[in-house]
């Protein structure tokens, strides 16, 4: 993502930065998965669906979290695609849980109504699924 697009993705209301001659190209709005049915307190939640439903506001492409993380990744000379959490290969379940419950940077801590412990366990496992065993990238 270019610096210009990153820049565009941060304005309230966003149209105020529309590029001359047209609307800027940004990822289209992505409808989130519905919250999975069933008891939210019980283990075995669908981590991908919960992630999309409860984290997609900010962590889909073009979301606040994705934009800020993309900027951080680029500053660290990592590929911009690493700004999308579901692409990451270096996340551990414990780290995901710590950030969700403690907050990080612009992200506030999430309550257990936002994400139950069972849901967080499932999301953490989903985001850590790509991490190679042994901790190397």
């Amino acid at each position: 993502m270019s610096r210009f697009l990153l820049a565009l993705a941060a304005l309230a209301p966003a149209t105020a930065m529309a590029a001359p001659g047209g609307v800027p190209e940004l990822p289209p709005y992505q409808v989130r998965a519905a919250q999975p049915a069933g008891d939210r307190l019980q283990p075995g939640r669908d981590g991908k669906a919960v992630f999309e439903h409860s984290c997609g506001y900010c962590h889909f492409p073009g979301g606040m979290g994705s934009n800020l993380l993309t900027k951080q990744m680029m500053m660290m000379k990592r590929p911009p695609s690493d700004g999308i959490l579901s692409n990451r290969r270096d996340l551990t379940a414990d780290y995901v849980k710590a950030v969700v419950r403690g907050g990080k940077g612009a992200m506030p801590a999430q309550t257990r109504v936002d994400l139950t412990d069972a849901e967080l366990n499932a999301v953490a496992a989903y985001l850590a699924r790509n991490a190679p065993k042994g901790g190397k990238k």
């Binding site: 610096r3 820049a7 565009l8 993705a9 941060a10 304005l11 309230a12 209301p13 966003a14 149209t15 105020a16 930065m17 529309a18 001359p20 001659g21 047209g22 609307v23 800027p24 940004l26 990822p27 289209p28 709005y29 409808v31 989130r32 519905a34 919250q35 307190l41 997609g56 506001y57 900010c58 073009g62 979301g63 606040m64 934009n67 800020l68 419950r101 403690g102 907050g103 940077g105 612009a106 506030p108 801590a109 999430q110 309550t111 257990r112 109504v113 936002d114 139950t116």
Partner: protein, 525 residues
């Protein structure tokens, strides 16, 4: 965060209340750990979040559970702080005004009960966020649009009840509320408007009661817990045309206001027109240190350099028209002629037509986003913001007066100036964004002093705020001083009559029940 008990409640009594809550909602939905208390703290607190500590949180899933919790709270004298989704960022997040209150988190009550494309309204529970409603509209392909605030993460009902604003023709969100269901402080259940009659199909269509109308008495209020409400929505337009001008100079805001306001009052412009100052454009281009690496406020000469470098005006005005293409074209001609009297440059024109994708970050097209919160990243560190938000008449005289006054106070405190005016009709909401690093004590201290100065000087000039952070609720209420604070005295009389135990949201907006009135200085800035 350590446990702070509610005032005058013993540990034993508190524990008994929590057990009784758990008997209603299940133990998994009563949240009492230090980590839980942290999660319900003010994410953007100016200074320590412990200034406004919750003791616990309880999350019901139905109106019957809310009623049961309210009755238990009365029994144990445990005050409740209701939040819809708890995302009132910049105004206190989910944290309670009074230390030790139990957050009543309505986030699980997230059903969309009706979506009526014919009469253009929805009926929703408080846990329904803007994203939830938008996604449901998309799934049903309903020809309805939302009006969304800067943070679409929050609750549709919660934002309307807090007097939130959006940027479409439905941007005065409290005015979209029609027909409310509320649990009263004694656990009784009220339906307003036509809903006062059982099964009346006009409940969410006719906006008044038979007799006194109470819907907005539950907004910015501690008179009850709203458990569902009707929300009027915008019928999806055939086309939309956006006209955008860069406005070169600071003082030009005067003619802009005097040009836009009559068109807005006459109905030719339907949306709330958002006019941000230069920093609103610069914050998106990087972090503060990229443009000005000193702690002092960015000086005028540097601002001028940046505006020239990035080819920006001091203000930017985007006016969006909605509806039939020919009507939009005709309206655009009127607006362009009015602007041409002051500015020769033509506007940038962008059309949207049915079938086109809606740009994902465009709040004026009703697409929810949390991206505007990125501005907190501007200052670096754990960025946060406070909004100082007075309301002024929408004329050049009042707007220029407010601009000069707040600008001077902000400059005197050596802080960057970032203001916007949103013309909502006969009035303009002036939001001054004050951004700071939560971990920089000197910066936080300066922000608090600045905020106090803005409130008092603005009140001296005769204007008040429409909304404020927990820490300033009393100070702002104090500015509404007609007839020895008749408004607060009236609010308190009603509060004490309806809520003798002071159970619901004590201190909300500076209205304290008799039971806790002596505590109002605690947590006040």
């Amino acid at each position: 965060m350590k446990l702070t008990l509610p005032p005058r409640v013993s540990p034993q009594s508190f524990d008994a209340a929590l057990k009784a809550f758990a008997g209603v909602v299940g133990a998994g939905w009563v949240m009492t750990s230090d980590s839980d208390r942290d999660a319900y703290a003010d994410a953007y607190a100016p200074g320590p979040a412990e200034q406004w500590p919750a003791s616990a949180a309880v999350a019901p899933s139905s109106v019957e559970e809310v009623r049961a919790i309210v009755r238990i709270a009365n029994e144990y004298k445990v005050p409740l702080w209701p939040v819809a989704r708890g995302k009132n960022l910049g105004y206190g997040t989910a944290a309670p005004r009074m230390a030790g209150s139990v957050v009543l988190d309505l986030g699980r009550m997230n059903r969309i009960l009706e979506l009526d494309p014919k009469l253009a309204y929805a009926v929703v529970e408080p846990g329904v966020g803007f994203f939830d409603l938008f996604d449901e509209v998309e799934r049903q392909k309903a020809p309805l649009w939302l009006s969304v605030p800067g943070n679409g993460w929050g609750s549709v009902i919660g934002n309307a009840l807090e007097h939130g604003i959006g940027y479409t023709p439905y941007g005065l969100h409290a005015r979209n509320l029609c027909g409310i269901e509320a649990v009263l402080p004694d656990g009784d259940l009220l339906r307003t408007g036509m809903g006062a009659m059982k099964d009346n199909p006009a409940w969410h269509l006719f906006p008044m009661n038979y007799g006194p109308t109470w819907d907005l008495a539950f907004s910015q209020s501690n008179l009850g817990v709203v458990t569902k409400a009707g929300i009027w929505m915008q019928p999806a337009p055939e086309t939309s045309l956006e006209l955008t001008w860069d406005i070169p100079n600071e003082e030009d805001i005067g003619w802009v206001i005097d040009t836009v306001t009559p068109l807005k009052i006459a109905g030719l412009i339907e949306q709330n027109v958002f006019i941000p100052s230069w920093l609103g454009k610069i914050v998106v281009l990087g972090n503060r240190k990229d443009f000005w690496d000193k702690p002092s406020a960015m000086p005028e000469w540097r601002v001028k350099e940046l505006l020239k470098q990035y080819d920006l005006g001091y203000w930017r005005v985007s006016i969006r028209l909605y509806g039939d293409e020919n009507v939009n074209k005709a309206k655009a001609e009127v607006i362009k002629s009015a602007f041409k009297r002051h500015l020769s440059a033509p506007p940038m024109e962008v059309w949207w037509r049915q079938g086109d994708p809606r740009p994902p970050l465009d709040l004026t097209l009703g697409t929810p986003s949390a991206v505007p919160l990125q501005m907190s990243d501007w200052v670096g560190g754990r960025g946060a913001h406070l909004g100082f938000s007075p309301v002024v008449p929408a004329t050049s005289e009042h707007v220029m007066g407010q601009l000069k006054r707040s600008r001077k106070i902000i400059a005197d405190h050596d802080v960057d100036f970032y203001a916007s005016f949103t013309i909502g009709g006969r009035f303009a909401n002036n939001v001054n964004m004050l951004m700071y690093d939560r971990d920089n004590d000197a910066q936080v201290d300066n922000m608090k002093k600045l905020f106090n100065a803005l409130i008092s000087e603005t009140a001296k000039a005769g204007y008040g705020e429409y909304r404020t952070h927990l820490g300033w609720m009393d100070r702002v209420m104090e500015t509404f001083d007609f007839n020895d604070h008749a408004l607060r005295r009236f609010d308190e009389k009603i509060k004490d009559a309806l809520d003798p135990n002071g159970i619901i949201a004590p201190g909300k907006q500076g209205v304290w029940p008799a039971a806790y009135r002596a505590l109002q200085k605690e947590g006040a800035q």
